[in-house]
Amino acid sequence: MHPSRKRKIRLAIALSLAVVLGGALIYTSFSAATDSKQPSDLVAGATPGKSYELTGKVKRGSVQRDDEVLRFRIRDRNGAASVPVRYTGAVPDPFREGREVIVKGKMENGLFVAEEDSLVTKCPSKFKKENSE
């Protein structure tokens, strides 16, 4: 085979591999992704059985612990709407009332049932301000 023809074939193979990988990335990321919602979005209407990523702040005075189960409410960053959450698994060190958190799970009869270990708490950079909010 002529060397330039060989190179063209190689280039075509490489490009098609890149296209396949890129296509797979796009397809799987859109199909596997979990939508990110605020409590008010879920209150307004959530598909039962569908996974969501819930972001917001831990409502003051809402944190309760029974054995391994942690119960709390997440409210909108700027707003009063809130959703009750049932969570099991590791609780991040900075978890606290009033902090911003992200948790993954499904809505079941108005209760957000979180996946195990899915709780993420944002690091506060200046924790001296935590009580001023």
Partner: protein
């Protein structure tokens, strides 16, 4: 003193602007004295910023609370080590660290190249000065590290307890050194593009900086993982968090760059690819700094909303647009001198490894920025989790481990089929033995990707080891030296090659650890009272007794755990949770000691085959009543009496300790990750060490120059 610090920064800004102007002037008019002056301005910037850093560090050491930063993240009771390192836990302090490191790296690079590359250096100086100017503008106008507190408080807030871990204190400077050092090859690449001096010369003079940047990033990433594993109470070392990804991406692209520049040096190929890779690496390094500081993505690291996000976005756009325009306008000068002769050649393997690395970093990039991408496309923000990342990164990583063994076996240009058989027979046999052993002796068969990775890692380690032995044997035959001498001599003669091979071994070892620990760990979350026990992966863990400790400005509640296997004691672990007093009084004078920031102290038994990892979450509800009652009394009591009450409260917890929640993990081969990291570091150091030959050449050339000067004077 804050005024002095500010003045220094303003002066630094002027000096860095001057460096850009002088360098450009020197380049245009071809007047050397301007270029020399620009270089001196960079030295001056390094000196000024050193003074600024010293002023700030001195303020931390003296607990000078007229400095806003000192109030925010230090206190009189903060241990000295953390006072010294508290600087980079703030945004302004870490930006100061960035530009200080930049000025030092730039000074070293310009000093080393002062007699070389007359055309390229002025533009490289201008680029470095430009980057410094950007950061100086931020420090002077946007986030000053020298904010004055008009009315200094008596005590500062202290360092965030989560960050009080030795590896967390070294992690940011390492990562930043990595990010910053990439600007040196980037600046020289831009200089080479502008002046069309696109042979391998710019690569040769900045190769070491690329390697330094790469090594620093590697250490920084590993320290971050180590911190996560031993300080955060979840038991993992990597979670595909945006900020972790942000440090991984420049490392991956930088790895590709370090390999593909060898192809350009040896064979004059891949020129467009190389300048593109260094532009991408530097942009990703900026992006890494930006991601931590901007809050555009949800991350545990996103330190709240910040004002510098827009600035960084602007800088990234300027760097990208400028570089792409420059590369496109120089495409004619970037044409390859040769073409790849055969797929069975080292350059072809380097190309494959480059494509794998770039694909890998693209996957990471896509996943990291997916929340923004999906918001732009569908209108709803959504994100992908670790399983999505694993689906792509695992096969790509397995492919890379294989390439790490194939590359060193193949020669440049072409390898014949007969040679191929001879080179591959032994490593393939070793890999086969390892697979059979793993399947027969362990239950590794339940995870096919892991078995594949074990096989390829064994192949790579043996391939590199045999290659080295071959070289030693050849050396012994030729030089008739004893074995140890020959073994050292081979490495000394070619530090770059054997340092690189050692890095390959280290990466293979580390990935073995990653594969084993992520596929075969056993984790249990249990609730145990004193005296109870639980079983995890054949280990019996018994909660012997609760503990409490009041010292180092915190209260720690913990547990003594007795770990046994088949009835025999393995170790005693002491996980605990530390409660740091809250600065405000809103939880009551006693309550603030128990309801402030808390961190896990992990109880960890490390071993070659497995780690036993334990964390504890004590249940302090029994103290709620007493704390409420105590708060009412303690308000008017002196601190000594409050201390007695706190001690009494912690005694009360010990006496009637309720069941606590434990996380118990048996994690195989985690230690190999850290060992692999050390091997990588050793390999990088060997590759970086100046070879005796070039050191001698430098000395003799200096002597020759001096002789020449003296002769001309005579």
């Amino acid at each position: 003193m804050t005024g002095f610090g500010r003045a220094i920064l303003v002066l630094g800004l002027l000096v860095s602007v001057y460096a850009v102007v002088a360098a450009l002037r020197g380049a245009r008019a071809d007047r050397r004295e301007w270029v020399v002056s620009a270089r001196h301005a960079v030295y001056a910037l390094a000196a000024l910023l050193t003074v600024a850093v010293v002023v700030l560090e001195a303020a931390y050491l003296r607990s000078d609370f007229s400095f806003g930063l000192v109030v925010d993240n230090s206190s009189t009771t903060t241990p000295t080590f953390y006072k010294l390192t508290a600087m980079w836990s703030s945004q302004a302090g870490s930006l100061l660290l960035w530009v200080w490191l930049l000025s030092i790296f730039a000074s070293i690079a310009l000093a080393l190249t002062r007699h070389r590359h007359r055309e390229v250096v002025p533009y490289a100086t201008a680029v470095l000065g430009g980057i410094a100017t950007f950061f100086m503008v931020l420090l002077v106008f946007e986030v000053s590290p020298f904010v004055r507190v008009a009315d200094p408080p008596a005590e500062g807030a202290g360092l965030n307890p989560l960050l009080r871990h030795p590896s967390m204190m070294f992690h940011p400077p390492m990562l930043y050194s990595g990010y910053v050092a990439w600007s040196i090859p980037f600046a020289f690449a831009v200089g080479a593009l502008v002046t069309r001096k696109l042979d391998a010369e710019w690569i040769r003079s900045t190769r070491r900086f690329a390697l330094v940047a790469w090594a620093f990033l590697a250490i920084g990433i590993l320290l971050g993982a180590r911190w996560s594993y031993s300080e955060l109470g979840w038991g993992g070392y990597w979670g595909w968090d945006p900020v972790e990804n942000a440090s991984l991406m420049p490392w991956l692209v930088g790895t590709a760059f370090l390999h593909s520049i060898m192809v350009q040096e040896r064979r004059g190929m891949l020129k467009v690819w190389n300048v593109s890779l260094i532009v991408a690496t530097f942009t990703l390094a900026l992006l890494g700094t930006f991601l931590v500081r901007s809050g555009v993505l949800d991350s545990i690291h996103a330190f709240g909303a910040s004002t510098v996000g827009g600035w960084f976005l602007g800088a990234i756009i300027v760097v990208l647009a400028g570089s792409v325009a420059l590369i496109v306008s120089r495409l004619d000068a970037l044409r390859s001198e040769r073409r790849i002769d055969s797929l069975a050649s080292r350059e072809a393997v380097f190309l494959v490894n480059n494509l794998l690395l770039v694909a890998l970093s693209f996957v990471v990039f896509w996943g990291t920025f997916f929340p923004l991408i999906s918001e732009a496309v569908t209108g709803t923000r959504s994100s992908v989790g670790p399983p999505w990342f694993d689906r792509y990164t695992v096969p790509l990583a397995i492919g890379l481990v294989l390439m790490a063994g194939v590359g060193p076996l193949l020669a440049w240009r072409q390898v014949t089929r007969a040679q191929l058989g001879r080179l591959f027979a032994a490593p393939v046999a070793v890999a086969a033995v390892v697979v059979v052993a793993a399947l027969a002796l362990t239950d590794a068969g339940s995870s096919p990707p892991s078995v594949l990775l074990f096989a390829f890692a064994a192949f790579t380690i043996s391939a590199v080891g045999l290659e080295y032995l071959r070289a030693v044997r050849a050396r012994r035959r030729v030089a008739s030296e004893p074995l140890p001498l020959a073994a050292v001599a081979v490495v000394r003669r070619n530090r770059r090659r054997y340092g690189g091979y050692l890095v390959h071994v280290g990466v293979a070892v580390a990935l073995l650890g990653v594969a084993a620990s992520s596929a075969f760990n056993t984790q249990r979350d249990v609730r145990l009272g004193p005296g109870d026990s639980a079983r995890v992966a054949g280990y019996d863990v018994r909660y012997v007794r609760p503990t409490s400790d009041l010292s180092n400005e915190r209260i720690a509640f913990g547990a003594v755990l007795d770990v046994r296997k088949d009835g025999e004691q393995v170790t005693t672990l002491r996980p605990s949770r530390s409660y740091f007093p809250a600065a405000s009084d809103s939880m009551g004078p006693l309550g603030r000691f128990f309801r402030g920031e808390s961190t896990s102290e992990v109880g960890l038994e490390t071993g070659w085959t497995r780690d036993v990892w334990t964390a504890m979450q004590p249940d302090l509800r029994v103290l709620n009543g007493p704390i409420r009652a105590g708060n009412r009394i303690a308000r008017d009591l002196p601190p000594e009496a409050q201390a007695v009450m706190i001690a009494a409260l912690s005694q009360r917890y010990i006496r009637q300790a309720p069941p606590a929640t434990f996380r118990l993990i048996v994690n195989p081969m985690v230690t190999w990750i850290w060992v692999g990291g050390l091997v990588v570091l050793a390999g990088a150091l060997i590759a970086l060490w100046p070879s005796p030959l070039t050191a001698r050449r430098r000395v003799t050339s200096l002597r020759a120059a001096r002789l020449g000067r003296e002769l001309s004077r005579a």
